[in-house]
């Protein structure tokens, strides 16, 4: 073994980061760290990278280190990319200057070989044309790829990448993986990669599953999937001690149903069952106020937004019907967020017409009355961090003009229905991301809107919580006749939508049901591949 991590624990004051983690890796291997946010992946990365004090021992190529100080010796062989988009980039330096800087601090010789390698990295990352662009002007995906090639420029032998693909669109993600794969073959390096995308597991040689500050399982993808095989059934009615999601039901007790083929995600459901952390059932009650909803809730005709010369959204037509969940997909910088912001009136519309609930929107006054019919949840789960969850909800209710009695009633109902009632007096920072996500949704639907706009509501949230969230959205649709427009980076989630709209560089390139799109590309194994095909097709 070339890397041995032996019972490593990391503490932040009293808080445990990761406890007694053991990892082994050989040259040329890509090792995957999979787990929810805050499960301990980053803490272990910090320890191995020698940037954080830890207990235990790490041995790399027969050199053992126990502290950041001792780890200094391996740092010339190390490449570390911490979690966070563009975290290690300097906003006011260009792409070229970044590469120069990272080369210089590693004292790389500028020979022909170096320039060839550098050029290839740039090409692979799709940044060759943008060498003069300042990092702050790059899109999220480009930033991640730049961070990656900056980490690779000195050909590290031990590569640590903490969620390099989070928030990155499938196109950029594919390029990232190509770079990684080439590097390990050529440099015979060890790569440790953490990810929140289950679909990437197939690209790893071995996986470590993280949960609650511990490593709960390890092995190849197949071995791990097999671990869940005994507990995975086809969707069935089940009273207690089981979870049903995406056409499968998981149960530790034998069920009277046919076994189904498990996926890697299944293991997380099974683990939740084993730890007796079964998510409470979600129960949405019918609307308190019955209202007439027109068949077409939102219609955009040729909506266009320009920033200077740059056209963010180019004549986009789109319809959102009653009781419909539409997924808005696209690479980073395709114009999804801009589009939603135009619909919401956060950006003025440069060209085109917008109808909301059958009414043409032409002035801010038109919107004012409609605001109470719209719900919005942003990428950041934006909440007031100095107010408790309860206080946040009361505030939102009052702002929507609900009376105190009515507000309290609805808050109680929603907090129970969405299963965060025991956290209600905590501050947002003290609750798990999944809870935060549900309570943000509660804040967005307190006033019982008819249409809901969700901007990447599932980023960074663990598998089980994400499943819960989608169940919630479907219940809302069923019981409230609500219409939902949602953007997401998880292509697998496209399948839970009634219809998807795909954007590319500000233009609409597809608008169809997921089933039809899958049919159109029979060779595609997953929706992710459908998406890549669509992008290729529109070249």
């Amino acid at each position: 073994m070339d890397l041995i991590v032996n019972r490593v624990s990391v503490y932040y004051g009293d808080k445990v980061g990761i406890k007694d983690a053991c990892v082994e890796a050989k040259k040329e291997e890509i090792i995957g760290f999979i787990g929810a946010d805050g499960a301990g992946k980053s803490s272990l990365m910090f320890a191995i990278a020698g940037v954080k004090r830890f207990k235990g021992e790490i041995i790399y190529e027969n050199y053992a280190y126990h502290s950041p100080k001792e780890a200094e010796k391996i740092k010339d062989k190390l490449g570390f990319m911490p979690q966070g988009i563009g975290l290690v980039l300097y906003p006011d330096l260009t792409v070229d200057e970044h590469l120069d800087f990272f080369s210089d601090i590693r004292e790389l010789k500028r020979d022909e070989e170096y320039w060839r390698y550098r050029q290839r990295l740039l090409k692979m990352a799709g940044l060759a044309e943008f060498t003069d662009r300042l990092a702050k002007n790059l899109s999220g995906g480009m930033k991640q790829k730049l961070s990656l090639i900056c980490t690779l420029i000195h050909r590290p032998k031990l590569l640590l990448l903490d969620e390099p693909t989070t928030g990155v669109d499938p196109i950029s993600r594919q390029e990232l993986w190509e770079i990684l794969d080439e590097n390990r073959k050529k440099e015979k390096s060890i790569s440790l990669v953490s990810t929140a995308y289950m679909s990437e597991a197939s690209k790893m040689d071995r996986l470590y599953l993280f949960d609650d500050q511990e490593i709960i399982a390890s092995g190849t993808e197949k071995e791990l999937i097999d671990m869940a095989r005994d507990y995975t059934y086809e969707e069935t009615e089940c009273e207690e001690g089981c979870i049903t999601f995406n056409k499968r039901t998981y149960s530790l007790r034998p069920l009277n149903a046919k076994k189904a083929e498990p996926t890697l995600e299944s293991l997380f459901f099974v683990n939740a069952l084993k730890k007796n952390k079964i998510p409470p059932p979600i129960q949405i009650e019918p609307r308190e106020q019955k209202i007439e909803i027109p068949p077409i809730v939102m219609e955009a005709r040729g909506l266009t937004k320009r920033f200077g010369d740059f056209v963010a959204d180019d004549h986009i037509d789109m319809v959102l019907r009653r009781r419909e969940i539409v997924g808005l997909l696209g690479a980073n910088g395709a114009g999804k967020t801009t589009f939603i912001k135009m619909l919401l009136g956060l950006y003025p519309i440069d060209e085109g017409e917008l109808y909301l609930l059958g009414k043409k929107i032409s002035s801010p006054e038109d919107r004012q009355e409609l605001k109470s019919k719209i719900g919005y949840m942003s990428q950041l789960f934006a909440l007031y961090k100095d107010l408790t969850i309860y206080e946040n909800l009361v505030y939102f209710a009052k702002m929507h003009g609900l009376g105190m009695e009515k507000a309290l009633h609805r808050i109680e109902k929603l907090s129970k229905g969405l299963g965060f009632d025991k956290y209600i007096n905590e501050f947002p920072k003290d609750v798990p991301l999944g809870i935060k996500q549900r309570f943000s949704l509660a804040a967005a639907i307190l006033h019982e809107p008819v249409v809901l706009f969700l901007d990447e509501p599932t980023s960074g949230v663990d598998t089980v919580a994400r499943a819960q969230f989608w169940k919630l959205l479907h219940q809302l649709k069923e019981k409230w006749d609500i219409s939902i427009l949602i953007t997401t980076h998880y292509m697998s989630e496209a399948e839970y939508c009634d219809r998807v709209v795909v954007l590319k560089r500000g233009r609409k390139i597809a608008d169809d049901t997921p089933q039809n799109l899958l049919k159109r590309f029979p060779n595609a194994k997953s929706f992710e591949e459908v998406f890549l095909e669509l992008y290729k097709e529109s070249e």
Binding site: K341, L346, K371, L380, L387, M399, H400
Partner: protein, 359 residues
């Protein structure tokens, strides 16, 4: 109105929950104001005096006996003028007195004599006033023209006590800076934390939100001001409050509104708290400079005097000091009320419009 209350109380709650912010505000308005008043002394105090007496007579000792604490340290004898000069060069002595050998004799025979004084005037403030003290002391030794006297009264503050004055000045500086930063931060914080968009999407008139947010900060500032004035300046330093408290309160309220207006403007052009701090300082410096806090307005260049008419701080300082120290009647305060109200309203509307454009 209910919405106004909701936002208003939400902002108060958020303020109270931000322990760091509360600590900074409390510290600035109490301890900082106290330290400034207690620690900074502009009057001569403990002035170190050295002397050389070549005359060996009684008169020098008589004069020296008048240099006593707290203004002066006990005079220190030196044997030669050279030694004394060296001590002044080394900043051990601030004032040196040299009594020539015929010092007393001349006075008796010729009726006049000379006293040589060496002053370290790098500390100009102290030197200035020390010199004037010495003149006064020496003057007492001279039988004045029988009967004539110049009686000076320093109105409102006979002893020229600087403690309360400086603590009051510090209070005004703190009020100015914190006032602007708080009312800018209450908006910029929403930008930083990403709640800005959510705020915009509330089915509520944006004017009410802006007003409620701004007034919540004005309220905090007023509370802090009352605490600071009432407790630190008035109680600890025992400052006499010569005017009506209501006038002071009203002036502070008007001034806080002005500050909120500036804060709104800063919030409309800043992305984060760091920028708020930078821009605040850039805007506040000229305001303070032109306010008459440092240089009396009548001593300024005529052009600057005109410009100072635009500084709201000018009216607040003159007005509030008139109320607190001079006990000026309300009628005579109109000259501050009116311009402060005009500038305050103008700035508030300007800031309101600026930030309103972002809604």
């Amino acid at each position: 109105m209910r919405i106004f209350g909701t936002v208003f109380f939400k902002e108060l709650l958020i303020f109270l929950r931000s322990i760091g912010l509360v600590a900074v505000v409390l510290y600035s308005f109490t301890i900082d104001v106290y330290i400034a008043g207690e620690g900074i002394e502009v009057k001569p105090k403990n002035v170190s005096v050295g002397y050389v007496d070549y005359s060996n007579s009684i008169l020098p000792q008589k004069i020296l006996s008048h240099l006593h604490p707290p203004e002066f340290k006990k005079p220190k004898p030196f044997t030669s003028q050279k030694e004394l000069s060296q001590a002044i060069f080394n900043k051990e002595i601030l004032v040196g007195l040299v009594f020539e050998s015929d010092f007393e004799k001349s006075l008796l025979t010729d009726g006049k004599t000379k006293l040589n004084i060496l002053l370290d005037s790098t500390a100009a403030a102290q030197s200035y006033i020390t010199l004037y003290y010495l003149q006064n002391i020496v003057m007492r030794f001279v039988p004045q023209k029988e009967g004539f006297e110049l009686k000076t009264h320093k109105l409102f503050n006979q002893n020229a006590d600087t403690h309360m004055f400086i603590s009051f000045s510090e209070f005004i500086s703190v009020l100015t800076l914190i006032g602007v930063i708080l009312s800018a931060a209450v908006f910029v914080k929403e930008k930083e934390e990403g709640t800005w968009d959510i705020m915009l999407l509330m089915p509520v008139d944006s004017k009410i939100i802006i007003l409620a947010k701004a007034f919540s900060q004005v309220f905090i500032i007023i509370c802090a001001s009352i605490l600071s004035m009432g407790y630190v300046v008035l109680t600890i330093f025992n400052t006499p409050f010569n005017g009506s408290f209501l006038d002071f309160f009203m002036l502070t309220l008007l001034y806080s509104l002005t500050l909120a207006g500036i804060g709104l403007f800063i919030a409309s052009v800043s992305k984060d708290i760091m920028q708020v701090a930078q821009i605040s300082i850039l805007i506040m410096m000229p305001l303070i400079f032109l306010s008459g806090a440092w240089t009396p307005i009548y001593s300024m260049h005529p052009l600057l005097q005109k410009l100072s008419l635009l500084s709201p701080l000018r009216y607040y300082i003159e007005g509030s000091e008139s109320v607190v120290f001079r006990g000026t009647a309300t009628v005579d305060l109109l000259q501050y009320y009116i311009p402060l109200a005009i500038i305050g309203t103008a700035l508030f509307i300007f800031g309101f419009k600026k930030i309103g454009r972002l809604f």
